[in-house]
Symmetry: C4
Subunit: 214 residues, 4 copies
């Protein structure tokens, strides 16, 4: 008997749908905030670490109206995993491999990529990195509210995901769960989807503040 | 027996109501974003191309509260089509003919006209056209994120729709689905209503960014 | 038998409740837009013109959570009308008399008073009146989009409603349904509640644009 | 029989749950406005004054999604009261003691702490206090709209709650229900939760206006 889950092994099915529900919920939140205009941005959550499997939002869809199955399961290179093929088939974002690389580098459980005006503006103003210090909100990304300069790294944009990933790897600041991609947006992550959400909100607050300050 | 669809041939009835539902949904979205203040702006979707028939939002109504039948069916000149007269009668916007002209010129399936602050501000600052380049968001309107200058054309406002249409035709940039009307707002289109929605969101993002940049 | 309408003549009861529903709906809209922060602002609709009776939002309540009976019926001086006393009793805003005066002067069917940042900022920058011209949005308040300078009058604030009313009367610009009260907010009106709503939205758009322009 | 209220004396149970519902509702409002990004900020309501008992939002949770039991009951020092321990256990914010101190100093019935951009920006620009005058909105916090300079005090941030409380006590301005904590956010209070909400909205309006004015 054909079921909606046909082709997906039972052992994968439930976590995948659960991940799809989380991705849809978080994407709708960010879309409502204006941080995923058009079909921009993409979100991922980790399904397993060995082998690495990520559920990534499908490309080309309105992020405010994702269904639970509007996702693609990819491996550590961002390549769709055949045994989890969706019906109808969905395309992963070209950036899926970058999500997987962030996970491999940081151990994150969720990686959220959004296109906020503040991220692009701050990346343009401070191409060498955005320095923040002495702000209570820094505690929201695990840093100190006093006497520490925290740098959110900024990397140049590229359509070559390997190049972009190399830049991201080289620019990562230990303990800072965010990278701004100049002229593009930002990648932010956390141990869980809810923590990744909070990190996005905090980083956006910090960037808006920093842009208004000068 | 008189029905709510009296006077509308059965073959037209369903697509018209479907178009009305789409127009109401999209208008409510834009109104919620503050892009259709008062009763400003108007949206259209193509019903047929030969002969050209457009469903256009009725004039003078709150765009956040349109009903499925708050539309007018117009022809290629923006004139209401008698056989699809609504009950109660609705007036088309004076700009309906401009929507039809955009469709004829570009092959669009939906044309959305909104009054955003960023469009009017950008049209005033760059009356010869708004230049954008090296932004990932440009991909959202089908352009390159690198090494290409994309110009969103700006035309002078007019109450003469033929004059305004001539200006729009002369100003169109191939592959750019948007024109800013100075002191007025912007026209944005796409192959489908959902693509037109995404193009509006992307163009608005680009204009807000460009205005903040300088 | 005591009913919820006890004390209100049957002939008044229904229109009053209908007015209360309209006031609650419009106030919730404006509160959601951030234009009635705290308990600021007040809205009114005309119940009858001879004698003049206005339903005005009660003072001191959250404008996002008004109930249908959170209103006071006042006469041409802003004094509560005893026969329409509410249970529990509600206080009219001190500004109720100003609403009545706007109605008497302009023939408006609804008067909306909101505290927007743009109104207060514009009133401070242009204390002699806010000039606008060559904007399509001017059509939304019944003016021309071309070749006409439209002035939104600005008057000094006062806690003396007679004094404030005299200033408003002296400052009124025929055909312009709005007055900015410096350091305070704006009064905007229309023939119907829905037109008054649209006029508020349009005037706010115009003021935001004008403030951003310079 | 074990009930959801096990461990909470019947006399406390209902008020605690009622307080939890109020905290959840108010926090969701502020989160929707962007004033409690990430898990930032905390809200409290007074349960009793002798002995002083406060219901404070639990730490580390999304303020837009609090459940009725996502709170901690603390005493005048901000220490959780054992007999009202929650299941599962919740941590109070480190700032709970500061809430209690505001209550003891001012007699407030509710204390709301939010992280708005305007508060942090204004605290940076005017570290000696934010002066406001001749604004109708000042009436919303019980001050005069004319001829009085109202100062919202600004104190330096600290992670030592005793130090922060001492600064707050020293900086309090009689009749002004707000203190800005530089680089951090603001504390605002009222006799009731609804009045505290209105005071937050009014103070935020005043700070946004003041920042835009110069």
């Amino acid at each position: 008997m054909t079921t909606p889950d046909a082709g997906i092994p039972a052992s994968v099915s439930d976590p995948v749908h659960a991940a799809g529900a989380i991705l849809a919920r978080e994407a709708a939140r960010f879309a409502g905030l204006g941080w995923m205009r058009g079909t921009s941005g993409n979100l991922s959550v980790v399904l397993s670490r060995d082998p690495l499997r990520l559920a990534v939002t499908a490309s080309g869809l309105d992020k405010g109206e994702l269904a639970t199955d509007d996702l693609v399961v990819v491996d550590a290179t961002g390549t769709p995993v055949p045994e989890a093929a969706s019906t109808p088939p969905r395309r992963p974002s070209a950036e899926a491999g970058l999500h997987a690389r962030v996970v491999a580098l940081t151990g994150a459980g969720a990686v959220f990529h959004v296109h906020t005006l503040a991220a692009v503006r701050a990346g343009k103003r401070w191409p060498a990195g955005i320095e923040l210090r002495d702000l209570e909100m820094l505690k929201g990304i695990g840093r100190s509210a006093h006497d520490e300069t925290v740098t959110i790294p900024v990397i140049d944009n590229s359509q070559d995901m390997t190049e972009l990933g190399d830049r991201l790897e080289a620019a990562l600041v230990p303990g800072v769960p965010a990278v701004v991609v100049a002229s593009h947006g930002m990648y932010v992550w956390g141990e869980t989807p809810i923590q990744a959400r909070h990190h996005v909100e905090i980083v956006e607050w910090l960037l808006e503040y920093r842009m208004a300050e000068d």
